[in-house]
């Protein structure tokens, strides 16, 4: 039986005007790339990647988008929310030279992952991209790790000027990486796929999730039927290459297809 944990919010960090990190004192025992389902029982239960996870606590980093995340942003330290998980697949832990390419609110999960990679002895380079300076997150925390960080914004307002994909292409032409990991907007990953040649990779995907335990079928990726909540959200290259919906469409809460 998967248990549910109703926890007090222990810490809130405002990363940007639209992004907050929530920390909980709880031994979650998650692997990097996994997510939790979170609810306040006021309507809606949503998936969030784990942005940090130690023996004592774990964090998620959330972007305010719609009804649910707006309500979440009104919560204070000490308020209860209820979570279940961690769910889903996690990143392969390479011991070699790896490149992480992240964009927007999907970058922080690489903070948790980078720490695990370092422990495993990997050599880590991170491209931390955002549209603009005001949306760029976690630069300080990545700086504290023994990894190479390249910050970038689409408009050049912080770090390098260019998309994460532009930068990835550039540094991959200068250097060899054994493994590439990406987490961010699907079109970013689609573009990446075209520029990284035959480097092995894993991508972290998002699809509409309801049950998160692999039965409702809302999150399957065509045509393989991979359930993003179980076989995903991290998918390996050989699977990604077979996905016909990748970069093309996704399904909403009713199962209806929408172009990306």
């Amino acid at each position: 039986m998967d248990k549910r944990y109703t926890l007090k919010i222990d810490k809130i960090i405002e990363e940007t005007s639209d992004i907050k990190t929530f920390t909980f004192k709880y031994t979650l025992g998650a692997n990097p790339g996994q997510f939790i389902m979170l609810t306040d029982f006021e309507g809606g239960e949503k998936p969030f990647s784990i942005s940090d996870c130690t023996k004592e606590e774990f964090s998620i980093t959330v972007k305010r988008i719609g009804e649910f995340t707006t309500r979440l942003f009104q919560k204070c330290v000490g308020d209860y929310v209820s979570i279940r998980g961690a769910y889903g697949s996690s990143f392969f832990i390479s011991k070699n030279k790896v490149l992480l390419v992240g964009g927007g609110y999907a970058v922080p999960t690489f903070y948790f992952f980078a720490k695990v990679l370092l422990e495993a002895g990997a050599n880590v380079t991170l491209i931390n991209g955002a549209r603009t300076k005001a949306e760029h997150v976690f630069a300080d925390r990545f700086e504290s790790l023994d990894i190479k960080v390249i910050n970038t914004t689409d408009d050049g307002s912080f770090g390098e000027n260019g998309t994460a994909v532009d930068i990835a292409q550039k540094i991959m032409s200068q250097d060899n990486f054994n493994f590439l990991y990406a987490s961010g907007p699907e079109m970013m990953m689609k573009a990446l796929q075209d520029v990284i040649g035959d480097t092995n990779y894993e991508f972290l995907f998002e699809r509409y999730m309801k049950c998160a335990i692999g039965i409702c079928g809302n999150c399957t990726m065509d045509p393989l039927g991979l359930r993003l909540c179980v076989e995903g959200p991290v998918l390996p290259k050989e699977k990604v290459e077979q996905l016909t919906e990748f970069g093309k469409y996704h399904r909403d809460a009713s199962g209806k297809r929408h172009e990306l």
Partner: protein, 308 residues
């Protein structure tokens, strides 16, 4: 002798007696794909309605010891998009597909039937028994002998496909309802839908865990209820039964067969044992057949019928 799982359901050859039931992995054609790759012999679509439905807000599932509560709220892309997923699946597969449809009155069931007639679907299943939309639609149709009779009869007249009536376990007298469906022309029965519904409470936030408050029970703990209702029904009708409710291991499937089922649905167990559950149960059934020297699924004996 080589044991085989091959059998027949309503005249169509099936490679395994295991059925992916309505609402489980049946949203997209790729959900059918992964299920048959993992050993399912028949697949069923999510229950489709005339218009698309977003379903209830989350949490829509909650676990408890022995089972799962769900209140998906009949989310589905609507009959047109839903049948498109079936047709896309049928382009490259011979595995039979059941289209499950849901409505609250005969007229809408007839409209849905006309859509299904035009698709590549093999069987039409009438979901008369969803307990998760009580608020919206009231007591399920499957609680009324008369409603069941009228809807099945009307649909039978225009359906080009064999029709299956999906019954609710939450009724006083399953036999009279099953007989009403049979009498009205149902070619098969599917039972049981989820039990209850039930509820769970978060004791810290002091709210129901499901946003819809109530949800239907599925999983191992409803098996005894399913077996009892299937056995009673099997004793009283002559049409085949798709038996489901908590089947998780091969033994459970054998119990369903002995209670009177012809084929067996495996839903919630996909959560407990992974999507591989179909192949696992297939193998467990084969092992049972080996041990007890049954050479085909049809040879597995049934209980003596109840005297009525």
């Amino acid at each position: 002798m080589q044991k085989s799982l091959k059998s027949e359901f309503l005249g169509i050859t099936i490679t395994s007696p295991l059925v992916l039931p309505a609402g489980v992995m049946g949203m997209a054609f790729s959900g059918f794909n992964i299920s048959i790759e993992n050993g399912a012999g028949i697949v069923t679509s999510k229950s489709l309605t005339l218009e698309s439905r977003m379903g209830h807000k989350g949490p829509v599932v909650a676990e408890f010891e022995g089972g799962l509560l769900n209140c998906m709220g009949l989310c589905n892309p609507g009959i047109v998009d839903g049948l498109a997923e079936i047709d896309q699946f049928k382009k490259h597969s011979d595995i039979p597909v059941i289209a499950s449809v849901f409505a609250t009155n005969t007229e809408d069931f007839l409209k849905l039937t006309k859509h299904v007639n035009k698709s590549q679907t093999d069987f039409l299943e009438l979901n008369l028994s969803c307990p998760n939309v009580f608020d919206e639609f009231g007591i399920p149709l499957a609680a009324s002998q008369e409603e069941v009779h009228n809807i099945v009869k009307a649909v039978k007249q225009i359906s080009t496909l064999p029709i299956i009536a999906k019954l609710s376990p939450n009724v006083y007298d399953i036999v009279s309802i099953a007989k009403a469906a049979e009498f009205a022309g149902a070619d098969a029965l599917c039972m049981i839908n989820t039990v209850g519904p039930g509820m769970l409470i978060d004791t810290k936030i002091i709210k129901p865990v499901l946003y819809n408050k109530f949800g239907g029970l599925s999983g191992p703990c409803i098996k005894p209820i399913a077996l009892k209702l299937i056995y009673q029904t099997y004793s009283a009708v002559d049409i085949p039964i798709i038996g489901m409710g908590g089947v998780t291991y091969g033994e459970d499937a054998i119990e369903m067969l002995m209670a009177g089922a012809t084929v067996i649905g495996v839903g919630t167990a996909v959560h407990y044992r992974g999507i591989e559950v179909f192949n696992k149960i297939n193998n467990e059934i084969l092992e049972f057949m080996e041990e007890n020297e049954y050479s085909s699924v049809k040879d597995i004996p049934k209980l003596e019928k109840l005297e009525m």
